[in-house]
């Protein structure tokens, strides 16, 4: 007996929806086993990790704060990946956006005007676009792999941020701590009531809706899908590959930059050496879990947001569990989703060695 992959006559209709759920289920099962191996009650541990974060309003607020950047970056990446363009440097684009947007309150601290916040957001988007334009240009002009160049620029952006907050942009009254001045009320995003949920969440929702319409109803969306799925057909159809490349990088970079400025002008409120717990990388998982579809990304963003919160909750409530568990769960989830996605195009079939002649063979019948 052995297990083989058999191509389905056509794409499975249900697997695209089932596969993310299956992947989450498998992650929970393996997670439970791992907790049990550490001598914890698996059901209680999973409850603390994945359910408790959504039981109080305080933690739901925190979940929205964590989900907003994941969704903003995730939709941009989903569209890149859909077009078979591998921008994996969103973390750097987020950082560049945060730096560019924060330049206004840091360099012009006294300028109080309703113009400040919109300008910060625009600068943030521009910063992300500028950072994303570098790999796009190298890909277009020289054919250099965008995977490697966009990733290398993450390190460069993080070092640039580190230099700024320890050097020229350090708060002169900050007792030598590496952070910038704290932003004033007119430099911060408005919040919902007195809570921590800020306007970034609303922006993320708007972006998801707009991009959902673009991808499903417009010619641009068609161009992106066809460019990824059938590059030759797309070329014959008159769609330009470089144009898709630039469009995707600018879109994803701009959104990552927007997420960056929303973080520093939202929950953080200043520039500091670390502004993101790896949102740019986790958003890659969000994009895949969300089936590279804007609405799916929204749901996936919530799921990954819970994993961040659960990690923090587990560290406090469960003995011997570190918040680093979150990243293991996230990585595992991506493995499972990729494995389950195989079932969209293929089905698994047992073939017995002795019965091989009786099983109908495709192409030989």
């Amino acid at each position: 007996m052995r297990l083989i992959l058999e191509k389905r006559p056509e794409r499975s209709r249900w697997m695209p929806f089932l596969s993310p759920l299956l992947a989450i289920g498998l992650t929970l099962v393996v997670g439970g086993i791992l907790f049990a191996a550490r001598g914890l009650d698996p059901l209680h541990a999973l409850y603390v990790y994945f359910v408790e974060p959504v039981t109080t309003w305080w933690s739901i607020e925190e979940l929205i704060v964590k989900t907003a950047p994941l969704v903003l970056i995730g939709v941009g990446l989903a569209i890149c990946f859909k077009a078979n363009i591998w921008n994996i440097g969103a973390e750097g684009q987020l950082t560049a956006g945060a730096i560019a947007g924060a330049a206004i309150p840091i360099l012009l601290p006294g300028w109080e005007s309703p113009m400040v916040l919109p300008l910060m957001i625009l600068c943030g988007i521009a910063g992300g676009i500028a950072w994303a334009a570098i790999p796009a240009f190298f890909r277009h002009r020289f054919g250099a792999s965008e995977i490697l160049t966009s990733l290398m620029l993450v390190y460069v952006a993080l070092y640039l941020l580190d230099w700024l907050v320890r050097g020229p942009w350090r708060d002169p009254h900050g007792y030598n701590f590496p952070h910038s001045v704290s932003f004033e009320s007119w430099q911060l995003l408005p919040t919902l009531g007195d809570g921590r949920v800020h306007a970034g969440a609303l922006i993320a929702l708007l972006v998801v809706f707009t991009l959902f319409i673009m991808m499903s109803k417009t010619l641009k969306g068609f161009e992106i899908r066809i460019s990824g799925e059938a590059p030759k057909a797309s070329g014959f159809g008159g769609f330009s590959r470089p144009r898709t490349l630039w469009f995707c990088f600018i879109l994803a970079g701009g959104l990552a930059g927007l997420a960056g400025i929303c973080e520093v002008a939202g929950p953080i409120g200043q520039l500091q050496p670390s502004i993101s717990p790896g949102y740019g990388f986790t958003a890659i998982i969000v994009a895949f879990l969300g089936r590279l579809n804007p609405v799916g990304v929204l749901l996936a963003g919530i799921a990954l947001g819970i994993s961040y919160l659960g990690g923090e909750a587990a560290q406090i409530e469960l003995t011997g569990v570190s918040d680093k568990t979150a990243r293991v769960f996230q990585g595992m989830l991506l493995f499972f989703i990729l494995a389950c996605d195989t079932l969209i195009l293929y089905r698994l079939r047992w073939i017995g060695t002795g019965l091989a002649t009786t099983t109908p063979k495709r192409g030989q019948a």
């Binding site: 992959l5 190298f138 792999s145 640039l160 230099w163 991506l334 493995f335 996605d341």
Partner: protein, 306 residues
């Protein structure tokens, strides 16, 4: 020991992890598979090597643990991409994200502990040579392993039937399959070799280059190794040259920081990453050179039609 000699010794130490990982990935890519999980396998090798060496007190056992871990990680990738025909780019990214996460978790209790240092082995006569002696012939066993692996890989790929099969599978998997070669098996073996090499590279980081475990201590070296393979246009000898160039850039940054000279240390630290981008652009810009040895099936899934 003169300053030049001291610099050479550190350059060799900094280049070895890059060389080991890049040689492994070169074989993987020659068989037509793109494994972007080098960083994840390397960091897992580093933590496994450190943990095993610390627990048992033997650096040799650390190396064994690192290799086994590297292979285990790579087989995860092989299962998904070869058996389940999953997208190689996405699976490689998953391997890196998973490896960075898991190594952080596994390594947490080992952070800040003094590790076991891999001993240097002086080769008689050769290690007494001026300038190059101490740098190349009085190093640890992994440095020698990197030289041997490079030469062996170059020989096997270009001079043996095994190498011919690997290259055939990478250039046209349908033809290779039609000739009766087991494409998937060849690729799985190459992926496992790549995992072993990445594990060795990780072991060198946590047992020789430094003797401690720091979270994410690979610092992008796995990605630079991937870039090196492109930079070397899939030729082992050029990987050696490239790895030493990058090791030199890395050490130059450290030396310049030591001298001070008013240059921001962050700029010097980002030099290897900037150099990688420049190298990629230069080599990719030359279309003829870049295309000459590129495996034609690189990154494409193969599902046999039985």
């Amino acid at each position: 020991m003169s300053l030049v000699e001291a610099a050479l010794v550190t350059i060799v130490a900094a280049s070895t992890p890059l060389l080991l990982a890049a040689i492994g990935e070169l074989v993987v890519e020659r068989s037509g598979v793109l494994n972007l999980g080098v960083e994840g396998m390397m960091v897992m090798g580093a933590v496994a090597g450190f943990a095993a060496a610390y627990t048992v007190g033997s650096a040799t056992l650390g190396i064994v643990a690192a290799v086994v871990t590297g292979i285990a990680m790579s087989l995860l990738f092989a299962f998904l991409t070869q058996i389940l025909a999953a997208n190689q780019v996405a699976t490689g990214l998953a391997l890196t994200l998973f490896g960075l996460g898991l190594s952080g978790l596994v390594g947490e209790p080992f952070t800040g502990l003094p590790g076991v240092k891999l001993e240097r082995i002086e080769i008689p006569l050769l290690s007494d040579l001026p300038i190059v002696g101490s740098a190349f012939f009085a190093q640890d066993v992994l440095v020698y392993a990197s030289f041997i692996l490079t030469i062996a890989t170059a020989f096997v790929l270009s001079r043996t039937k095994t190498g011919l099969v690997i290259r055939a599978v990478g250039i046209n998997h349908h033809s290779a399959h039609a000739l009766g070669y087991k494409v998937i098996a060849v690729r799985c073996a190459c992926i496992a070799f790549g995992g072993a090499c990445a594990g060795l590279a990780g072991a060198h980081l946590s047992l020789a280059y430094t003797t401690q475990w720091i979270e994410s201590m690979t610092a992008g070296r796995g990605w630079i190794a991937l870039a090196l393979v492109v930079f070397a246009t899939w030729v082992p000898g050029r990987v050696l040259v490239g790895a030493y160039l990058f090791g030199a850039v890395w050490i130059m940054g450290l030396y310049a920081q030591g001298l001070g000279a008013g240059i921001p240390p962050q700029l010097l630290s980002s030099l290897p990453y900037l150099a990688t981008i420049v190298a990629l652009v230069l080599i990719s810009g030359d279309r003829i050179l870049a295309k000459a040895n590129t495996p034609a099936c690189l990154g494409q899934a193969f599902v046999p039609d039985r």
